[in-house]
Symmetry: C2
């Protein structure tokens, strides 16, 4: 849910940095709104951030699925990234009208198009419920502990939201169980598309420029919140500042960073570095090659390969960046030093020490089990059938059938009664299936499973029998009827009996092979993830005891505020400037994908001011999930939308390096210029300018 | 020249070992015949290896291009691996007769087919010339130093071989410059194919089983040396023992291990681990995916993709194994300890210390330059156009033209006058070019160069201009005429003027882009490879001074003898038995590639003795280049042909772990049984049995 789908090129060469994790980088942190380090900001920048300022920004910050956004007019107008609304743009397209390619423009509000399934949430309040959640778990262990805490969370959410329509309450764990807070949101379910530019300008430079800078992407779009079929009244919005900021001026980013692993122990980071990430990258690279080659067979193949390929290439670059920072000796040495410091402080406190024991040793022991079971767990369970919707549906049907036959308390957690509606929705929502891509992905999974687990592994023999990976994949995909939602619904409703009686080859395949997957899942939970989670909770407790709230929690796709400034960076003696300007676009365009400009931009060239700032970079500390976040100046005005990090930001999963970690922003100046001169959206510009 | 083309499955899962490099593993070492540790063997095994034994084995050991082999009859009959003769088998094939697929069988000697370009060399004598070579270099530096030593080598070779026809002398450096010896060979240029089995049984199990065990591969073939158009008289041959050895019985392997890096410093190993190997593997994996997908378009595409794919998959697995051993903390710790020990011994010897200085620090400094320049050096120079013959030829023509215009002493080393005949032969020999594979490989290189160096790199702008990688690759390959050897010859003969005047797009592309490649090559030689070579020579000197000849030199594709025994291994509590038997073949066969049996084997099933040992494993220390080596018992009889290592042997590039490192052998028992009952080659069996 927290994919940083920054469809936007790569200074991979720049990655071989000597990064570091000094304890107090300026500008580090994804802070919660109820614990923002205002004093430090005032001291570092001379800028006073008070409660009213924070309240205003919080009220204008919007969470949408997988992304962030902001209110920019009193009539519900929302700014986000184009890559955050591309599913909507595609859904609104019709035969002969490809809005993703051509852009989606509206003249009147009646033209605004409702986005299927889109929701938008604005945070109203934060309530600390740590005491009651922890109390519920006291004296309990294992499943009973989890159950009791989950029940207490449900009670807290129900109490706080009090069944008021349009509200949503969510209990969020911070510091890995150190704190629990209920976030109450105003929820909008009628969200409409107002404006989306052409994909080719939003993601100009494609994969080569993704996580790269200099950059020339208009990765922006506008939505509108509706309430009772009318534009929502949103008096608290961010004022639109159509002028680009000066270099060095202060910037804030309010949004929902998805997930960071900055609190992992050194032994966990070493396992990721030496095993988890490399194996994933090798398999990802091979699949990437297959999809590229498949796409070269013709325009139709290119079209159907593009969607999985974009996701895969983005993941590849994310993990490449993570691998490189973990391979950096200085970075790991700094992590070791930080861990040693915390352990020394714990050791110096006998009471604390007795309370938490030695969770670092527990986690190190779990790494051995990780290494012993990783390949089997990965191939049979966590990444089984990866990319094949048919396989995923078949597994859900088989497992749901088996689990629903059990008492609630004994089920796999995904199939607990309270979670069944979500599973059912995921299973039954219509989704397109391309048999060629399905077959390719299944075959890739089968090939790699045989390669990594070997021909001689009993589980591989069960999977393949006398089949080859290509023949088996072709047979399973060609014979399955699960692409039809009605077929899935019948099997869901029919339960285990219907599933067992099905002659669908994919269902039969999962029935045959799932016991091995479940077996390794059990081993994994008992020897790896279980002990790790318990120990991580202890470490969080220690950290909290030692450092209090002077440290920020790992990201949890909940609203955070980052501070920083507009600044380029220097790397190996080369200076990367903070800004790009529209004039640079013409030099970069080649006329060939992914450097081909839309016709509207070619036509508008002479009208556009070449000096207008297009994109810029800032020192803000963000990560995947922050896409679409408003970038705000000290006055609280919006000056851009964050849409990416630079290549150095990828190590941000494990630590922030203020010297080189940068947020990449499309400026309001560029958006205003483009709306005016490329797209002629006068009404929209007037609304933004409050006229 | 030292490719271990062990076309033969993968216990990758088994790789996550805790390997180690204890200073004295039993059975470690690739020993020269003039320094074999006979005393240690006698003490460890109670087996006496004397000079006559060594002489007999040396006289029967044969070197062929990239592989090893042995004489097994008095009439020039030679045993090697099928994968070592597949180029010959392919060359002898004709329309409607695919000997690679169907096997090559002969009834009479007149049926034996001459292998184009094949040579075979038998070592006659070893002469130590260390003194004269070192003396020649004394007092000289840089190019003059290299020149003087090379001249002295040529003199030594000429003196020792004395222009006797059929002899070849080669100066070989051991211990990285610690010793120089002239190896004098009897050279055979008329080598004919006698027997090759079907590819499907020779490489049964394909890539999944490559570097794996249990194994069922008949990876064997027979050649015959001819002299004056008659079978060569070879009185010194290895007696054929058609019975499989007992578990635990002693085994020797005589052959030509290609290359090991066991003497690299820790800082060099870290660079390979963190940068060199991972980048290569990611690009290799993507290309692998492309070739697999290309091959799925149809049988003809599959056929043309297979050759590059085999090589790529073999390389992938080799580097996967290397990566995993370098990622192993215990292995690296042992390397650190060994290095610290040597450094301490050097430090304790003031004279030695003063002589060699601190070469470890010099190499560590060169690692920084390695990291700074690696991606550019790799993409523009060392791996530029990788896999495209057209690009390779174009670069040779451009560089030869430019270099030949200079005085000999100022040329790039490949284009020195003495090396021009070899370059010309490489360039002008007819080789098939498949435009689709050429385009695919060129495009892959261009794509990855743009990705890893970024769009903004000046060299990338020079390469691509306004082109996309796919359009540029297609244009260069479609327009080039270099596939025609006559075109290449005209440009070679015409020299620089002809090259400059050529309108061949590939030639023009290289003329435009080569200055950037040369520039990074110069940086690399002056800051990475140059300083590293000099320092490595110093370390070799130190090692030699401290340990003398009690250590064996790194492999150099020259004749070595390894000792060990028939033994399975245990890993993570699972025992892998030492033998497979013919009966197991039927269980493993699925009827689908790569587990499909040739029809002859299906037909012969009932005749074959299921208990016959098929393949077995031994503790011998071998590496790529050893393919085809005779496996010999204590009596000096041949009992098999080495064709692979197990997955743990891949770490053998950096160190030998006797607990798990194994050589994989096809037994003479299986070969005899198959020749008799599958192929009906009675005469050949009689010759082998000396009847």
């Amino acid at each position: 849910m927290t994919v940083f789908r920054t469809f936007a090129g790569a200074v991979l060469a720049a990655l071989f940095a000597t990064a570091a994790v000094a304890p107090a980088w300026a500008d580090e942190g994804m802070w919660t709104f109820d614990n923002f380090p205002a004093a430090k900001v005032q001291s570092d920048y001379g800028v006073k951030i008070d409660k009213p300022w924070l309240d205003r920004v919080q009220a204008a910050a919007v969470r949408i699925p997988g992304c962030s956004a902001s209110l920019v007019s009193k009539a519900g107008l929302v700014l986000t990234n184009n890559h955050c609304v591309v599913d909507c743009t595609k859904a609104l397209s019709k035969a002969g009208q490809d809005y993703v390619k051509d852009g989606f423009l509206t003249d009147a509000r009646s033209d605004e198009g409702k986005c299927p399934g889109m929701t938008a949430e604005v945070l109203i309040s934060i309530t600390d419920v740590t005491g009651q959640i922890k109390a519920a778990g006291e004296g309990k262990v294992g499943a009973a502990y989890v159950q009791a805490k989950e029940a207490a969370q449900a009670v807290a959410e129900k109490t706080i939201c009090n069944d008021v329509p349009g509200r949503r309450c969510q209990t969020i764990s911070f510091y890995r169980g150190g704190q629990y807070k209920v976030y109450m949101y105003r929820r909008y379910t009628d969200v409409r598309l107002v404006f989306a530019p052409e994909f080719d300008i939003a993601f100009f430079g494609g994969d080569p420029d993704n996580f790269n800078f200099p950059r020339f992407d208009l990765d922006s779009a506008f939505l509108r919140l509706y309430d009772g079929d009318k534009p929502a009244a949103t008096p608290q919005f961010l004022k639109w500042n159509p002028n680009a900021p000066a270099e060095g001026s202060m910037t804030f980013v309010a949004g929902n960073p998805g997930s960071t692993d900055r609190l992992l122990t050194v032994s966990q980071l070493e396992t990721l570095r030496d095993l988890g990430i490399p194996i994933g990258q090798l398999q990802r690279s091979e699949l990437r090659g297959r999809l590229i080659q498949f796409g070269e067979q013709g325009p139709e193949q290119k079209r159907i390969a593009n969607e999985p390929l974009f996701g895969l290439e983005n993941s590849f670059k994310v993990y490449f960046g993570r691998q490189m920072v973990l391979n950096d000796k200085a970075f790991m040495d700094a992590k070791r030093a930080a861990e040693a410091e915390l352990r020394a402080k714990v050791a110096a406190d006998p009471k604390l020490s007795a309370e938490i024991g030695d969770p670092w040793a527990d986690i190190a022991a779990a790494q051995k089990a990780y290494a012993d079971n990783f390949l089997v767990y990965r191939q049979l369970e966590s990444e089984a059938g990866r990319g094949s919707r048919l396989f995923g549906w078949a597994r859900t049907l088989v497992r749901a059938g088996q689990e629903r036959a059990k008492p609630d308390a004994e089920r796999m957690s995904d199939y607990a009664e309270v979670r069944l509606p979500l599973e059912a929705k995921r299973l039954l929502d219509p989704r397109p299936v391309d048999p060629q891509i399905e077959t390719l992905q299944m075959e890739h999974w089968l090939l790699k499973t045989r390669e990594y687990l070997t021909v001689d592994a009993p589980a591989v023999k069960t999977i393949l029998g006398k089949d080859s990976p290509d023949a088996l994949a072709a047979r399973l995909v060609a014979g399955s009827k699960l692409a039809d939602p009605a077929v899935r619904k019948a099997l869901w409703d029919g339960g285990l009996a219907a599933v067992m009686a099905s002659d669908d080859p994919m269902i039969q395949f999962v029935l045959k092979t799932d016991p091995d997957a479940r077996a390794v899942r059990t081993i994994w939970e008992s020897s790896v993830s279980g002990p790790t989670d318990r120990a991580a909770g202890k470490i969080a407790q220690a950290r909290f005891a030692v450092y209090g709230e002077s440290v920020y929690p790992d990201a949890t796709f909940s609203l955070r505020l980052s501070y920083g400034k507009v600044a380029g960076w220097s790397y190996r003696g080369a200076d990367v400037p903070a800004f790009t300007r529209i004039g640079g676009l013409w030099d970069r365009a080649t006329g060939q994908e992914p450097f081909a400009l839309p016709q509207r931009w070619i036509d508008a060239k002479d009208k556009l001011n070449p000096d207008t700032v297009f994109d810029f970079v800032s020192t803000n500390d963000i990560i995947g999930g922050n896409s679409g976040s408003p970038v705000i100046n000290a006055k609280g005005e919006v000056i851009g939308a964050a849409f990416d990090g630079n290549i150095h930001s990828l190590g941000g999963a494990y630590g922030y390096d203020g010297r080189v970690n940068r947020t990449v922003v499309v400026s309001t100046a560029a958006i205003t210029e483009a709306l005016t001169k490329v797209y002629g959206r006068t009404a929209l510009v007037q609304e933004l300018l409050g006229k």
